[in-house]
Assembly symmetry: C2
Homo-oligomer: 336 residues x 2
């Protein structure tokens, strides 16, 4: 392995010159620059990340802690991961992967300076990892909104607003009884913040609009879905407008409803809260508030990078939802 010294010798310059050619932090004449680059090429030189990290105190690696739980949809997780990795590369950063359960990992990678910053997904209301992260003196961004962010920056989709927009859309169409099918029970119980916020937003919006409402958690199985729907959309006070925040269930929703004799949107209008590709993965695409996983992931990286060199106060960014009407919502039938 050629070192920077070898390059310097081959180019007939000092190592510092080579370093400045590479970093561009001082002016170098075009001639020497060319000679240095030629030497680099010829020797197949590439800098040693460890040495660079030692001297510059920067590793050019970002830590990303991802959830690998039963109750989160891995395909959505992957959209975040993909956005984070791609964006990180535009900042010349690589991404180190930590799993949710590896709580010690936070301290390990940060205090050993393996990473320059951290991004943490799937934050819970009282997430024990948040105080740990806050103690470290490197930038960190949460994807999600804990009760107390302890001075850390956060980015997330505005799930409460997403619920609100969904309810309002249904109400505007004349629906007077709305229902929510949400995340699995497990997500609610551990207070994954998106689950809580969707539910609270839903209930607040329905109350404010003065319409009847009901909400249910739902496990990712056909049976659970059928059961939940039984409760919510049949009987005398059946809802005619449904909000679904559960990517597992969406693929089976239409069939399950039709087995119950309900057609969409004639009998029941449905708004999905889901990534666009999930909402479109159906012959009759869902009216949906899309979860912009890519934007969130990208923003998280940008926020970490902004705080890498310069002090910048913590901030919370909520991505504003927008509803796209497709073919699964329509005006309510005139009430009896």
């Amino acid at each position: 392995m050629a070192t920077m010294n070898d390059v310097a010798r081959a180019a007939g310059v000092s190592t510092s010159t080579v370093s400045y050619v590479l970093s561009g932090k001082r002016t170098i004449s075009p001639d020497t620059r060319a000679e240095v680059l030629a030497a680099i090429e010829k020797l197949g030189y590439s800098p040693h990340a460890g040495a660079r990290a030692l001297a510059s105190n920067r590793s050019n690696v970002l830590g990303l802690m991802v959830p690998l739980r039963e109750d989160v949809n891995v395909s959505v997780v992957m959209q975040f991961v993909s956005a984070v990795v791609t964006t990180a590369r535009t900042f010349e950063q690589d991404v180190l992967l930590l799993t949710q359960d590896d709580t010690d990992g936070i301290a390990r990678v940060m205090s050993q300076s393996i990473v320059d910053g951290m991004i943490m997904m799937d934050i819970e209301a009282k997430d024990p990892r948040v105080p740990l992260l806050a103690k470290m003196r490197k930038p960190a961004v949460l994807i999600g909104l804990p009760d107390d962010a302890q001075g850390l920056s956060c980015v997330d989709f505005d799930f409460a607003a997403a619920s609100r927009v969904s309810v309002r859309h249904l109400v505007d169409l004349g629906h007077r009884r709305v229902a929510l099918i949400g995340s699995p029970q497990a997500s609610l119980e551990r207070h994954a913040t998106y689950a809580d916020r969707v539910r609270n937003g839903f209930e607040a919006a329905a109350s404010a609009a003065n319409v009847d409402f009901a909400s249910r958690a739902c496990e990712p199985t056909a049976a659970a879905l059928a059961h939940a729907l039984q409760d919510l959309v049949t009987g005398v006070d059946a809802a005619t407008g449904l909000v679904v925040h559960n990517e597992f269930l969406l693929p089976m929703l239409r069939d399950t409803l039709s087995e119950m004799g309900l057609s969409v949107p004639a009998d029941i209008s449905v708004v999905a809260i889901a990534p666009t590709d999930v909402a479109l993965a159906s012959t009759a695409p869902w009216t949906a508030v899309s979860i912009p996983a890519h934007d969130i992931g990208r923003t998280a990286v940008e926020m970490v990078m902004e705080r890498m060199h310069t002090e910048k106060p913590a901030e919370v960014r909520l991505i504003v939802p927008s509803l796209v009407q497709r073919v699964t919502t329509s005006p309510a039938k005139a009430s009896v």
Copy 2:
């Protein structure tokens, strides 16, 4: 940040002593060891990964290149990732994440010594990344079997044998016409090695058993599935035994068949080639050859680690399949 020097001073020893306490590479008296550990504790010392990497020429990071494609099932990918990360931690390694399309990433992370070794998933028959990897002088393991591994080690599930076992099971049950529903067309076209091997194994086994066979690629949509089934399991020469290697499709398979008036296993026996949890995610669990994602991921890490310090010849390990009969296969009806 306290350095090793600070610790040495606080403990009244030399830095080398501290280093040896930490690495255990020389004997240290219990007393000094205790003092050193106390100083470490008191100062909240943790070693600087960059400095360590520079001096020892080891980063303790493994690179993992994962596919984020449309045609691979992310939940299966995550099982591999999870196994790799977990196993890596048992070797005190962290995992750096690279995405499939980042071909330059291989050279970058290896020649800059950001990682000590690489694991690459979703290998294609003539994968352009394989020669790149082979050029590097750090250990690497492929999950998959390219046509030419160029001296690299490989680990994978024996998909050909999985097909064989599935066909034999159906044949033993008296089925004389078998069909395969495989990966999406895209996977076959890019010669993802699992897709090719499942198909070839299937056709070879059926030929050898002297039974009729047919096979189809299938996109991950209900419509495509219905269409494929139409071809394969209806009509005069309908198959009565079906092998399915496609995790997307399994959840909708039973319903689609029942809409066609076919019940499982009365009218048609089905063997799945899928991870156990997918095979069990049904009220009537599938007879299946399970894809041991966790074992494969773990083995990949072990193989990299074995080659980290010592020269060891490349090897190919195929994980032997085993079929578990559940409730979706039964003897063929007596033929007419």
